[in-house]
Amino acid sequence: MTDVFVRRLAEVGSADAASAGGKAAGLGELTRAGIPVPPGYVVLAEAFGAALDASLVRSIADLPAGDVGAIAQAAAQVRERITSSPLPASVAAQITAAYAGLGLGVSVPVAVRSSATMEDSAVASFAGLQDTYLAVHGADAVLDAVRRCWASLYNDESVAYRRRLRLPEDGLAMGVVVQRMLRPRAAGVLFTRSPVTGDRSVVAIEGTWGLGSALVAGEVTPDRFTVSKVTGEITGRRIGAKLRLHSFKPNEPGISSSAMPVSLRGLPCLTDDEARALASVGRRVEEHYGTPQDIEWALLGDDPACPPLHGDPADRIRLLQSRPETVWAARERPPVATRKPRASDHVLAWLEKPL
């Protein structure tokens, strides 16, 4: 039996994080919860293991944490080796076949993103610096992007970080997610609690026209919507100055950033119904995981210049990522009030203590 290096996202779940990486496991889990994500597959950590020359990285483990120059030199060597070495034939074949499957044989643009297997979120976030390749076209380019994702494990900051904490270099691994690239009408992030106040009764949505990368890269001031989880009311709505538009072309790799058409700049990128539909998807994810989530979303549809589509906006929502919200989760909040002998004691307590 041949080794399995690639699995469809729908085939993985939370339990597979060690092999698929957190991002892929999360996307698989979303699929299982009935929440649509773009079709795709994950190149498992086993593929990385099969492709990597173990002796190459062992030398790094011995580098002194303070020797920035040596670390940079060694890390560059490793990255160069990873990106330039051909993949083992079975790994390459499986990735190529899975890619072909995505487009039913036609070459389709995909997003290639690393899916860290390490628990340590700080390492993951270092790894996350340069690990997303958008609008990748063709099987060869996909293989190349996969290698570059792997190489990002060895960017200077990540290696220096591991040296400082004396983390092992052995057993380091990474999954890589390959997903159909969406051409969204609008995209962005959402939090299933207020990032500003921590309020758990609202969903906070940020978005812009086109690809969400413009928002993640900080090139636009996004539109912000606050939606009550309880009543569905839009309790906050601020339209941002969306000056840049991220998009991609059919046969050109990568994302291009252009000036946002003037007519779209001050126009909200979501209708109220779309914002409510996003909030409701956010709630479902939160309920699935039992804890507030930090989510990347995209909304399919026509070109932004066209009027909004008819039909249920929920059908056009795709999630690109969901992870637990960490900032407010880490804060302890004492109870606002606790039971008192009589209900009226609450009034007495308040009236005795003026604002």
Binding site: S201, T338, R339, L351, P354
Partner: protein
Amino acid sequence: MDGTDGAPRFLLPSEIADAPGAEDWRSMYPYFTRFQPEDDQRFWFYNSMHFPEPMPAFDTITAEVPYSAIGANTARVFVFPTTLGIEHRIVNGRVYITAIPVLDDAEIGRRAAIFGERASYYYENWDALYEGWKVRMRSLIEQIESVTVPQLPEFEDASVVFESVGIAQNHYLRENFHKCIDLFSRMWHHHTEMLMLGYGAYVVFFQFCRQAFPEISDQTAARMVAGIDVIMYRPDDELRGLARLAVEAGVDDLFTEGCSPAGVLAALASRGESGQKWLSAFEQAREPWFNVSTGDGFYHHHRSWADDLTVPFAALPRYVAQVRSGALAARPTEELRAERERIASSYRSLLGSDEERAAFDQMLGLCRRVFPFVEDHKFYCEHWFTSQFFAKIREFGALLARFGVLADGEDIFQLHHTEIDQALSDVMLAWAAGGPPLGGAHWQPIVSSRKRMLAALKDWSPPPALGPVPEALNDPAVRMLWGVTQERIQAWLSPAADAVRGFGASSGVVEGPARVLMDVNQIGEIRDGEILVCPVTAPSWAPVFGKIKAAVSDIGGSMSHAAIVAREYGMPAVVGTGDATKRIRTGQRIRVDGDRGIVQVIG
């Protein structure tokens, strides 16, 4: 406000100039309502919620008596820890108020000990006390209805002699007038008896919600409390019932847009049995449910439906049309109840711990306990009792007119109640002596001059607030009832140039033509699909809500009645804008954003 010397601030009371054409306005009001020099040191705000118009002299009783009762309740009866009472002043005919806070910690503690004992007695026995309250209020209403106005015939009735009554009718002129004033005062004491505690329960629950859910709107918190079977819906429900009956009985053709009440009633009388059937249902609905003021019970000219059938008859044709088309639905009380429970349990489940949930349950439970009183007292007090009260005063006015003291009975409302005392003394003496009263020459020029001044005062724009901005506002009534918060004060200081801002009281965004109504008697001018812009929102405007797309008011909080009605009708409402009626004109296209509390003129 005044921005000439740096930071924006409000005018001081002493800086207000007399309104042109009404320079003698002070002569209309008693000395104790005038701003004093030391009042410049305190923050005052215009109570346009209750007093959106200049005060006729008699109508100042609706400030004098309530504030006498409210302050007694909070400062002396229940001994609220952090607040004494409310003071009021009149300038250019407008009522400004301020609450006197208790700031000393030791004093707060001393008061809190007494308050705790007294308040908890009412909270813990609320339902039983409210039942007793209703009995007492019904008795006051019966008493005001049974007050007689002596007609002073040429000769006394024989019974005065043969039953050795010994007292002539002119004596009762004063006694019975005083009885009206005294009953009005009693009514207001009962009005505040439970109300301030009721508001206390609200404030605490709202405060809890805001801390646990920093982004919750007051309107959403209010939806967890809202009563379903409250009396305020009853007059409107009665109208819907009458509309149904009109269709069933086949007399619905009489109810057309712009129909005259007298014309319809006369026509019904000649419609045989079905006409009679409708008329008897009408009489039944009328008492007591038409004792609903077209305002909030603070002005004599806000006639009740019972006095002026124009308002209910403006609503009936629309309801009749809805019955015909099958569109007239009963209030979906079960759905409303279920939605209220769903919202409350959703928030409850989002709380951080079971301890918090226990506190939430206690506070929400307390709010719901006090809610029926807080909602229903208005019908008993401001509407039913007060309609009867003004009707009685009107009878005294007719008597004064008959004796030539006043040119018209309605002019009695241009006199302060202590001045009416004098005019009645005049008539008592004249009837006794057999000569003419002297009041005609004295009062009639005064009345004419006051009417002219009131007309001039209508054109004066009262600043929303006066005096230095306070550091803290913790009076429950001021916050809950008037919606005066620090944010509100800041908005008053720096009004947005392009948008009218207020409280989003009911969510949603709509656009439509504005209809600015300064006076509730204009209610018939409203057309389908317009957006109502008015000084104050009041439950008696209920029939209007079937026609309008949204409501905007100058003053009001998220618990004001129209806010509640608007939420139930599911239409956007922005209340407490301060000056929407001045900045928006009838016919302008406006956009009402009930989520953000913004009204924009768009064309």
